[in-house]
């Protein structure tokens, strides 16, 4: 910084009016890439989606206004109905498993143990998060192969007969859940780990003195203290599970039948395989409304049930 020391400091400072003018323009320039980019690639597409949902359009012929027909077809089209049902069941099972496993592991890590072991376990549980869901699904598809998969081989060691993992509806839905949870529990785990380590030690000591140990201490002391994190972790897990695509696409491609087809897979197939862009937009909007509803529910619940210190 080249400040001329002979110049009095007061005059070096530009007048306030000039400063705020410069600042306003600087702010506009600074915001331009983000705000213009979002206008072009997020807001414009949302509006386009809203409009497109009321049209039938296959890119080739001119769009045709069809009113609510696209939304009505969602209720009638069996594939769409099944895929939404699948998605909701998937979200319920996957999120409960993900949060349950994460909370158990995070609280087990609170116990006394050598610090190298804690670091090792934390890194291990976090590791699947840095992998690509597509790659994970590739190797999991081999592991769950009916004939030569390592999973069936391991199960055969304990006397469990061959499971048709990827060819029976119930089993393939289970595989999609397992593979998804395997990769994502680490995220909730990190959130819980942070929340648990923020609980003051004195509270646990006080609870011990009062005779509250084990489950009693967990449900009456620990859980209320981390309830804000439990809520945030649930909402984040629900929102990301609602958008599941990579795992079912690579593992089962929605099959057998429609048993593992999810809402986002139907958006993809309607738009880019059947060229029904209006229908795809309509499904996308329904999914967005679901996500907004979950977020709104978070705010309501947080006022009623969450205990803030």
């Amino acid at each position: 910084m080249t400040t001329n020391s002979t110049v009095p400091r007061q005059t070096a400072k530009p007048p306030a009016v000039h400063r705020s003018f410069v600042e306003r323009w600087l702010a506009r320039i600074f915001l331009a890439p983000t705000v213009l980019g979002m206008a072009l690639f997020t807001f414009l597409p949302i509006i386009a989606s809203l409009v497109l949902a009321f049209f039938r359009w296959d890119i080739i012929s001119a769009p045709q206004f069809v009113g609510f027909a696209n939304f009505a077809s969602l209720a009638q089209d069996p594939t769409v109905r099944v895929s939404f049902l699948n998605t909701i069941v998937f979200v319920a099972v996957a999120v409960i498993l993900q949060l349950g496993i994460a909370l158990c592991l995070a609280s087990m890590l609170q116990a006394r143990m050598p610090s190298w072991l804690r670091v090792f376990l934390r890194s291990t549980f976090f590791f699947p998060l840095v992998l690509s869901a597509a790659s994970v699904s590739i190797f999991m598809r081999y592991m769950f192969n009916e004939q030569f998969g390592v999973v069936n081989w391991l199960l055969s060691l304990v006397g469990i007969p061959v499971v048709p993992w990827l060819t029976s509806p119930a089993a393939s839905a289970t595989v999609v859940v397992l593979v998804y949870v395997w990769q994502n529990f680490g995220f909730s785990f990190l959130l819980f780990l942070g929340a648990l380590s923020n609980i003051p030690k004195e509270l646990h000591e006080a609870a011990n003195l009062d005779g509250a140990t084990g489950w009693k201490q967990f449900s009456n002391v620990t859980l209320p203290l981390i309830s804000p994190t439990v809520l945030v972790a649930s909402v984040m897990a629900i929102i990301s599970a609602l958008q599941v695509f990579d795992q079912p696409y690579v593992l089962t491609n929605g099959g057998p039948g429609d048993s593992t087809r999810t809402a986002v897979m139907v958006i993809f197939e309607s738009a880019f395989q059947q060229l029904e862009f209006g229908k795809a937009s309509a499904i996308g909007l329904v999914l967005t409304v679901l996500i907004l509803a979950v977020t709104a529910l978070q705010f309501r619940l947080s006022r009623r049930f969450v205990f803030y210190q």
Binding site: T42, L129, I138, W153, Y249
Partner: protein, 303 residues
């Protein structure tokens, strides 16, 4: 897990086992691991094995020859590692091009996000302009919109711009980042105001204050944005699947899924060799940037 590990978990480490016969310490004898401790360690060991097992299986299978890669029982420790699969995967697909595409897309998105989020985050945190709160709320609101909803119009827009089936189709729409902007705003808000005041007294204008005072201080925040962008877009599958058409524009995950489709169940180890290769950059980030990545991932939950 050996009993040695279990004991060191509850008591302090004693000296090396050699030397004078250890005098039994009464404290240590009294605090043998209880049933709860053993159960906890057993559960943690099972969880760790289930987490690492699939990755180790992938690694060890990729080191078997393509013809014996589906033999059972699987060998978890390939004593004579075989690298045929790694040579073969380079013959089957253009690994170099896939890596180059992935690196270009991921690198430019990460750089673009760091730059645009730093600028916008600074404006929201430290500059005065009309409509600041309204614009910031709009930016945050875009986080609620799933990519699947905007993908159809984005696809049309890219076509209209004449960018369909190019790498720019993947890069440009991913640069504006609500989460990155939010992170950088928080970061700049956390920096003290004194520096700006001192610099202003020295005659520095708003640009100088940003460039010379706050940008150098914000590098750790930018690293979080960059690493998050890298982790997400290196692994991304949905957008490349839609926005790229010809194989010369594929990114790694897309190329590998295509390879699996082509090879079916014939040469597992070849596909898995590709999977392991694609994991290497993520592994580097995991080893050297784990802390930054953890901070970034959990930052969204503490709004």
């Amino acid at each position: 897990m050996s009993s040695q590990t279990l004991q060191s978990g509850t008591g302090k480490h004693s000296g090396p086992p050699t030397g004078t016969p250890a005098t039994p310490k009464p404290r240590r004898v009294r605090r043998l691991p209880g049933a709860g401790t053993v159960g906890r360690y057993a559960a943690l060991a099972v969880a760790a094995a289930l987490t690492l097992g699939p990755v180790l299986w992938t690694l060890s299978t990729s080191l078997r020859t393509p013809s014996e890669s589906f033999n059972l029982p699987p060998s978890f420790l390939p004593i004579n590692a075989d690298f045929t699969a790694y040579q073969e995967v380079f013959k089957q697909i253009n690994v170099g091009l896939l890596v180059l595409n992935s690196a270009l897309v991921t690198g430019l998105i990460a750089f673009g996000q760091m730059a645009s989020a730093t600028l916008a985050g600074y404006a929201f945190a430290r500059l005065d302009f009309r409509g600041k709160n309204a614009i910031f709320s709009l930016v945050l609101a875009t986080m609620m919109v799933p990519v699947q909803v905007t993908i159809v119009p984005v696809f049309m827009l890219i076509r209209g711009m004449g960018l369909s089936d190019t790498l720019l189709a993947l890069i440009l729409p991913a640069i504006p980042t609500a989460f990155g902007t939010f992170l950088m705003r928080q970061y700049f808000l956390g920096l003290p105001n004194d520096f700006a005041e001192a610099a202003a007294l020295d005659g520095a204008g708003p640009w100088r204050i940003f460039r010379s005072v706050y940008v150098p201080l914000a590098v750790p925040g930018m690293a979080i944005v960059g690493i998050l962008a890298f982790n997400f877009h290196w692994n991304e599958f949905f957008r490349p699947l839609i926005l790229t058409i010809s194989e010369q524009n594929f990114t790694l995950p897309l190329g590998l899924v295509t390879l699996q489709g082509n090879l079916g169940t014939g040469s597992i180890s070849v596909v898995l060799a590709g999977v392991i290769l694609s994991m290497l950059p993520a592994l580097v980030v995991f080893i050297f940037g784990q802390r930054t990545l953890r901070e970034g991932l959990t930052a969204g939950a503490s709004k």
